[in-house]
């Protein structure tokens, strides 16, 4: 599903072997600049933490990288393809098949059962219901929530729900997993468990993880971090630890 080798025809300015690269991204909401020249790159199998104070533009960076939001300017390359040149339809298709998402909360459809929630991205991509739910269940097993299958999100705890969300994000075999404060609503113990399961599962499928967090202990699950301040990103770890 996701284990095809990275393509070599990446544009010149992208670091070699990089799966997702952004240069000089700018995005303005009204008059406030959310991103003001941000750079980013990630390799397959890498976990990168995006850190920074609230309001610094972390989430906007994630939304731009995932093709949810189109940046005002800058280049955005995924797997050799220019994301900013894609239509909304193409980007939606890309998000369905190549990307996975975990948010802080409010992402599980409350009226669907957990297993239906996990199967949702697969079904959206056209997998028949039975197959989708079988795959979903196997992912729930990996995240140790397979017993929650027939329950509704309202009936499970926050940590369990977040693990269901991780299972859903991974179910479609994404090559990049975007996680925006995935443990933000959880206590330490549950947060740690979710991070452990998330990074392990991502590593096992060689998926890259973009992890937006303001918590150092969560960021410690990453391979390196970049810091966003006032809309600009600094790839600190590239300079000092690598």
């Amino acid at each position: 599903m996701s284990n095809q080798p990275p393509q070599n025809n990446t544009p010149g300015h992208a670091p070699a072997g990089s799966l997702l690269t952004a240069t000089d991204l700018r995005k303005t909401y009204g008059t406030t600049a959310a991103l003001d020249g941000a750079h980013f790159s990630i390799h397959p199998g890498e976990v990168v933490a995006v850190m920074g104070p609230s309001g610094s533009g972390k989430s906007t960076l994630l939304h731009c990288l995932a093709g949810i939001v189109t940046p005002d300017s800058g280049t955005l390359t995924y797997d050799g393809r220019d994301l900013s040149a894609m239509s909304d339809r193409e980007r939606s298709a890309l998000r369905r098949s190549e990307f996975g998402f975990v948010f802080q909360f409010g992402q599980l459809v409350p009226e669907l059962t957990c297993v239906e929630n996990v199967a949702l991205p697969l079904r959206l991509a056209g997998t028949p219901r039975k197959d989708a739910e079988r795959t979903a269940l196997s992912w729930m097993e990996r995240l140790e929530v397979d017993d929650l299958g027939p329950k509704r999100p309202g009936e499970v705890s926050g940590g369990q729900g977040q693990r269901v969300a991780v299972a859903r994000a991974l179910a479609c075999g994404p090559r990049v997993l975007f996680a925006d404060e995935p443990t933000g609503a959880l206590d330490s113990l549950n947060g740690e468990r979710v991070m452990q399961l998330l990074t392990e599962a991502a590593r096992s499928t060689n998926a890259a993880v973009v992890l937006v967090t303001h918590e150092a202990r969560v960021a410690a699950y990453s391979d390196r971090e970049i810091v966003v301040r006032d809309g600009t990103s600094r790839d600190v770890s590239m300079e000092f630890t690598r």
């Binding site: 150092a216 971090e225 600094r234 600190v236 770890s237 000092f240």
Partner: protein, 174 residues
């Protein structure tokens, strides 16, 4: 905390007498533990010996001998190196970090960079601890968690300081 580096940093603003140095240090960093005059003199003579400061002039008067010290180029380099080098992450190093931040602001260096560097260093250690926790038993995990929580507290303080650097800068330069 390195008193030598701190005094050197204070001298970067301009030559001072030993007594002035003590007063400046006490005002900015020695809230609860003022420096002894003797400490100043012994430190200054060590710095003098290492060529990091020089005597700018001597005033004779009623009291003790009053030397005016100035920082040398070697001294400036030494301060710069000290500031750029991240502290080994361990609990309770706020005072050192605080001194560094203030000195960076006083001497017109980038405090942001200093904080980023320190954060990266902290995270590096936290990654190692997190990794160890992954493979370790419960005791290991608890020990690592203890350290992780303390390091996280440091980092939180760093973020907080970073957020308030501007205010700090105006207050220090006053």
């Amino acid at each position: 905390m390195s008193i030598g580096h701190t005094l050197l940093g204070l001298l970067e603003a301009g030559p001072r007498h030993g007594y002035d140095l003590k007063r400046a240090f006490d005002e900015k960093f020695g809230h609860d533990r003022p420096l002894h005059y003797g400490q100043v003199y012994s430190t200054m003579s060590r710095l003098l010996k290492n060529g990091l400061v020089e005597v700018d002039g001597t005033e004779s008067g009623a009291g003790p001998e009053r030397k005016r010290y100035a920082i040398t180029d070697a001294g400036i380099t030494d301060v710069e190196q000290w500031l750029a080098e991240p502290e080994k992450p361990e609990p309770y190093l706020q005072s050192t970090l605080y001194t560094k931040v203030v000195l960076a602001l006083l001497t017109g260096r980038s405090a942001d960079t200093l904080l980023d560097t320190q954060r990266a260093e902290h995270l590096r250690l936290m990654r190692i601890l997190t990794d160890r926790k992954r493979g370790g038993d419960l005791a290991d995990q608890l020990i690592c968690d203890h350290a992780l929580f303390h390091l996280e507290a440091d980092l939180r303080w760093l973020e907080l300081t970073a957020a308030r650097l501007d205010r700090l800068a105006t207050e220090i330069r006053r």
